[in-house]
């Protein structure tokens, strides 16, 4: 029985954080899962059409499931700022 | 062909959401009432059924009735219903280029929270705008621009207009077009030019111009109003034409007058072009009816309260005048047609009683059990306790004798479910719990009336309360006492109050000119503004057959303090045209009205004053039908007594055995001392302790406080 911990992630029977879509495991519950995801880090400017054109040096980080490519989370970041880390304690 | 009888009858029929009611007036005869179920979407059927029901009580056939009818007055929810069911025309919108999104973005969140209760507003994630009547792909912006003075900055591009009209009608299949340009109420040239193009290129399209329908400032509300009018225009027009035809076929050849939301009538051909004017004409008729009845009884300050199955509605008449709604809405759309102010809450006979799952605190409504399944006691499968169920548990209704014996009520099942769902969780006996819930409902109603009186600077103690609708006469003894009103009147026509209102209305045409003038301004300047409105009104009323002596003109002017947003429509009470002294009196009246509405000390003279709108109300005075006054007999009502049973008496906080009466056996002059219950075929009247009811010469039940 998997338990939901975010809009896109669950904790599976093995106590691992997993993709809600395909079940691909991303590491033990409570640990930072983003390290196990595929990361796209591109300038926010140019990522979404004309209204994003005046964004400055901020990046759009997108974390994808290595199993099915589902977009698991995203964050805005200046280069070098750490990943945001969410921990759900079930 | 028999000889023609003289035309003595006035027939009034009001189509409501559930019922279609008729009143027939005949001089020297009592009022004849008729009722039938409303028949959406072909409401005309219900209209004819309702008239036939009245004719039956008169012992006349349709042909006989109509041959002797001089006037047919009508109000209908057909436009409200079209909006509710989203059954209107495929509509397009032409507007100023650059401002195409005005209708859709509703001034931001305004359209998202408008019409919601505070509970809804506190939960923004769960809110949405209503689906707009025109989708974005049926809106075209046209090159044109007028400024705040009405000056043309950019002439209308007629070629672009033609292209847009062809696109909307031929490619998008649009059936009706609304036209609204910025500042068109100061300069309507461009809108007129667009209409010309549409009539040339796509003549069968229904057209509404904002400068015709709502020539007032505020482009969002003006656009919304014009769109609603275009959307429902054809349906309203077809409906009235069809009704006219049906009546003609039955032998009626008189005028057909149609009620508007501002409480006046328009001839059918005028009303057909102003669908938006018919919105909420029912409640408006109710307030008008109350005003007339109050006037007959010598009361010009009336609180008109109507409690039906789902909602409790109230309007206020002060000195014979009423307020217009400030930011009117229909369904969840804003619009700006003048509309009599009626406020409401979800508290009616069918309102569901529930306990908050977390805190166990009880509340009444706003959810309703409707007509189906309805209250538990109706035995139609209702499982949730409603206010009607509470009323039967506190002894106000006779389970064996509901609706004059038409229906029996399941008291036992009601008691069982109420005990399980409400009384037990509250830790109270069934009766105590029912009493408590009843008091909550009365308090909520009291608060609503407080909102429309005390919060507007009016004192309920100066008012008479009129109680309409199936449930109001049951509760009014409690909230009326709490508000300390002068007395309570349950009108004989309570069941068909809106129809009664129809025949107490005049033909009313509303005109307005938007213009900003400083105070003071010369009276001559103001009089000049009114000249063209008066000329137009006189011509229109003459066309409708009114001699000058049968008309009345009322002026009112919107004023505000400099750079403030709040405008107050101030009636001109002096002679017109204005002179310096009547103008000075107007300014004094404005200040008094402003302070009354907005609180003492709220007037800020240092900011200066401006006049922003000049309004003319032109009346074609209709003969008020006479209501037969019956002879007043003795006070002894014992012939009407049918028995005794325990009923809830508020002062005692418990059920107390009291007298029960049958209304039909009462005669004018009879007096009943509370506590007591009087059953009528359509409602129940409850007299509380220290209240005396007497039946007056119109067969109204008048309740005095001792």
């Amino acid at each position: 029985m998997s338990t939901r911990i975010s809009a896109s992630l669950v904790v599976d029977d093995n106590g691992e954080i997993a993709c809600m879509e395909c079940g691909h495991a991303l590491g033990p519950a409570g640990a930072p899962w983003k390290k196990a995801a595929r990361l796209s880090e591109t300038p926010l400017q140019g990522s979404g059409g004309e209204p994003y054109s005046n964004a400055a040096n901020v990046l759009l980080r997108q974390f994808f499931c290595p199993g099915c490519a589902a977009l698991l989370d995203s964050e805005s970041a200046l280069a070098g700022d750490p990943f945001l880390n969410d921990v759900v304690r079930l | 062909m028999g000889k023609s009888k003289s035309k003595i009858y006035v027939v009034a029929t009001d189509v409501g959401g559930t019922c279609t009611d008729t009143i027939v007036f005949a001089p020297g005869e009592p009022l004849y009432l008729g009722k039938a179920l409303s028949t959406p979407p072909n409401f005309a059927e219900g209209v004819m059924n309702s008239i036939r029901s009245a004719a039956d009580t008169m012992g006349l056939s349709f042909a006989e009735l109509f041959a002797a009818t001089s006037l047919f007055v009508h109000g209908s929810t057909v436009v409200d219903n079209t909006l509710l069911t989203r059954d209107g025309a495929l509509t397009g919108l032409l507007t100023t280029e650059g401002f195409e999104d005005t209708l859709l973005i509703t001034r931001g969140a305004y359209g998202r929270w408008g019409g919601l209760t505070e509970d809804g507003i506190k939960h923004p994630v769960a809110t949405e705008r209503a689906e707009p009547l025109v989708s974005g792909d049926r809106i075209c912006g046209l090159p044109e621009r007028v400024d705040y003075k009405g000056a043309v900055l950019r002439a209308l591009d007629v070629d672009a207009t033609e292209k847009a009209v062809r696109y909307l009608v031929e490619e998008k299949g649009v059936e009706a077009l609304a036209v609204c340009f910025l500042w068109s109420f100061y300069n309507a040239e461009h809108e007129h030019a667009v209409r010309e193009v549409i009539q040339r290129v796509a003549p069968s399209t229904y057209v509404s111009l904002s400068s015709d329908i709502a020539p007032v400032p505020g482009e969002y509300e003006r656009t919304s109003t014009t769109v609603i009018n275009a959307y429902a225009g054809n349906i309203a027009s077809l409906y009235l034409n069809n009704l006219q035809e049906l009546l003609t076929n039955e032998g009626y050849d008189g005028p057909l007058l149609v009620m508007q939301g501002y409480g006046g009538l328009l001839p059918a051909n005028e009303a057909a072009g102003r669908a938006v004017g018919m919105i909420e004409c029912g409640p408006a008729a109710g307030v008008i009816g109350s005003r007339y009845l109050g006037h007959l009884m010598g009361d010009d300050d009336v609180i008109a309260a109507d409690m039906g199955g789902t909602t409790f509605k109230v309007g206020v008449i002060q000195g014979g005048e009423f307020d217009y709604a400030r930011e009117p809405m229909v369904d969840r759309f804003h619009y700006v047609a003048p509309k009599i102010e009626v406020v409401s809450i979800g508290a009616g006979g069918g309102s569901i009683v529930s306990l908050d799952p977390r805190t166990n605190v009880p509340s009444v409504g706003p959810r309703s059990a409707g007509a189906r399944p309805g209250p538990i006691c109706y035995g139609q499968g209702g499982e949730e306790p409603t206010l009607t169920d509470v009323m039967i548990l506190v002894g106000y209704m006779d389970p064996d004798n509901f609706l004059g014996g038409a229906m029996t009520l399941d008291l036992e099942r009601t008691r069982t479910i109420f005990k399980q769902k409400i009384a037990d969780p509250l830790g109270l006996g069934v009766e105590q719990a029912a009493i408590g819930i009843f008091r909550i409902a009365a308090a909520q109603i009291s608060d609503l009336i407080h909102e429309i009186t005390v919060e507007r600077g009016l004192d309920p103690r100066d008012f008479v309360l009129h109680a309409f609708g199936g449930s109001c006469p049951i509760v009014c003894g409690i909230f009326g006492a709490e508000l300390n009103v002068k007395r309570i009147v349950i009108p004989y026509t309570a069941a068909v109050n809106c129809a009664f209102g129809l025949v107490s209305a005049d033909i009313v045409h509303e005109y307005s000119v938007t213009k900003t003038l400083p105070v003071p301004s010369p009276a001559t300047k103001i009089n000049a503004i009114y000249e063209s409105m008066i000329a137009e009104a006189q011509a229109q009323l003459a066309k409708e057959g009114f001699a000058d002596s049968g008309t009345a003109f009322e002026w009112s002017i919107d004023l505000r303090y400099g750079r403030q947003v709040h405008e107050v429509t101030t009636p001109v009470h002096g002679k017109t045209p204005l002179d310096e002294s009547t103008l000075a009196a107007l300014v004094d009246d404005f200040e008094a009205l402003y302070e009354r509405k907005f609180g003492k000390g709220s007037a800020y003279r240092a900011a200066g004053m401006e006049m922003t709108m000049f309004r003319l109300t032109a009346r074609g005075l209709m003969k008020r039908p006479e209501i037969e006054k019956m002879a007043l007999g003795g006070k002894d009502a014992s012939a009407a007594k049918t028995g005794r049973r325990p009923i809830f008496v508020d002062a005692a906080g418990a059920l107390v055995e009291s007298d029960i009466y049958n209304f039909e056996r009462l005669t004018p002059g009879n007096e009943i001392t509370g506590p007591a219950v009087i059953h009528t075929p359509i409602t129940t009247i409850v007299l509380q302790d220290k209240q005396t009811g007497h039946l007056d010469e119109y067969r109204n039940m008048v309740i005095q406080f001792n």
């Binding site: 926010l44 200046l78 945001l84 759900v88 | 939960h123 923004p124 482009e219 709040h566 709220s602």
Partner: protein
Amino acid sequence: MDPITFSIIRHRLYRVIDEAVITLKHVSGSAITNEGHDLMVSLYRADGSLLMGGVGFLHHLTSAAEACKAIIRRFEGRINAGDVFLTNCPYTAALHTSDVYLVSPIHYDGELVAWSACFVHVYDIGAMVPGGFSPDSRDIFTEGFSSPGLKLVDRGEMNTDIMDTILNMVRAPEMVALDLSSMIAANNVARERMVALVDKYGSKPVDQACQMLVDQSEQSFRERLLELPDGRWESRQYFDIEEETYRVLLAMTKKGDTLNFDFTGSSPQSKYGINCAYWAAWGGFFAPLFPLLCYDITWNDGVLRPISMIAPEGTIVNCTRPAPISLATVGAIQSVNNAACICISKMLSASEKYAKEATAVWHGSHFAIFMFGQNQKGQEAIGIMTETFGGAGGGRSFADGVDVGGEIPNPIGRMANVETTESHFPVRYLFRRATSDSGGPGKYRGGTALEYAIQQHDSPDGGINYVVSGKGTKFSMSDGLGGGYPGAPCNFRWVHNNEAAEAGKNVNPFAMSPEQMTGEQESISWGVFPLMDQDVLYVRSDGGGGYGDPLMREPEKIARDVREGNVSEGVGRDVYGVVLDADGDVDAAASAAARDAIRAVRLGQKAAE
């Protein structure tokens, strides 16, 4: 207390607030109050704790409690029936000097039973710049009249020396006097109704009912917190002022039935007035907390009890005096608001039951543009451009964000009609519409934002000036949720048509988009600027954050978005992977292929570490 009596008293307490709000709106007739609903009226218990919060600007519900408590401390022993106190000092309780609190004790039979407190953003407060937002202020001393607490009305009598002093220091004193009168009136109504309530039901029952109201809120809120999983969620807001970049960091921790908001690591306080003080930060996260977590719970001190905050001194969320602060309400408070919205929504998303209450950020920037100058009639005019209240909704787990749908801390705001603004200010709009592609992409996209352009029209002296305090132009402050993109950032441009005309070009007076404008477009974001002759000010607001994966958006929805102008075909294809045919309908095969291609690119990315 029996539940019936409680139900009735509670309903009547709601009416006390309602009536006071109506009075406030009725008397004060300025646009910022009437359209933007930049006001609040609430009831407080005798000790100053929040009893019942009204639907006004939600940042203020809790800071007004602190204002009551500050007044109680300062004036202990000298608080009488009929007094009205004023405080607008941001280092005491107010959010910035423009938001003036009037706080009135409510006595019954000589005993203090409650307080009512209200605020409006007054017409002017005597700061460096008209309207109260002063981008050039470097300390609190140039931000206008400010008091930690004074008695404005003494037992029903106005202290005219104090009133005259305040009015002596502000522009357009007659308008400010009206603002203050409206607040006095609102408090009077609250007092009268509260006294009537106590009169009818008795002091003890009313006090009992109030206590129950607060206890019930606490109990209900704690129960809800226990239903949600424990955890720690992070959010980070960037915002830009001129050459500086600021961070507001938030780590929200829920443990059992308590919730902690920790802003450790946020930037040190700024030389610009976008800082906020301690109580503003506290109020800033309650603005999303009330509607997101307590939508069916009465907003009062009971909701505050399970909450704690860490806001290190000397940071932009807890600045120290005399740091400038006049732009707090469009500055750091907004970032607090947005960061809290994301953390709370992430917590809600961790629950099957409450996932539908989560939302991406709405109108993260909440910038303000004030205009000042002479109006068409030569009178002094100051006012906010109300378009900021148009806002943009954040995407949700079941629906898009509402286009131009408002903002969370301002439940019943709206913007003025174009015709209203054009009649009060010497300006003409060229256009005003929703902006395509401004909503953050997602399975459920963020709501689109407004764009508009104005130029002067019929100004007696050539034009007007405007004050821009626009953060969120370089970064997007409307964060997405669950993978959704942030909404597009805002943009302000000074279009130099006058220079173009001087150089001999024909200026297009009816440009329908920035592309059609003649003069050079200079991006601006901060300061006081002129709007003269043919120059144009162009403003594009920030879109709402998106929710979820754009590749999961139903293709039919993109077809409709494109048809209605909310998403461009290019973005539909490149970001959402939806391809439309020549008729604008979904080409299912091409879309499937496009989405597969995007997924392949995703999988081809390197691992995050």
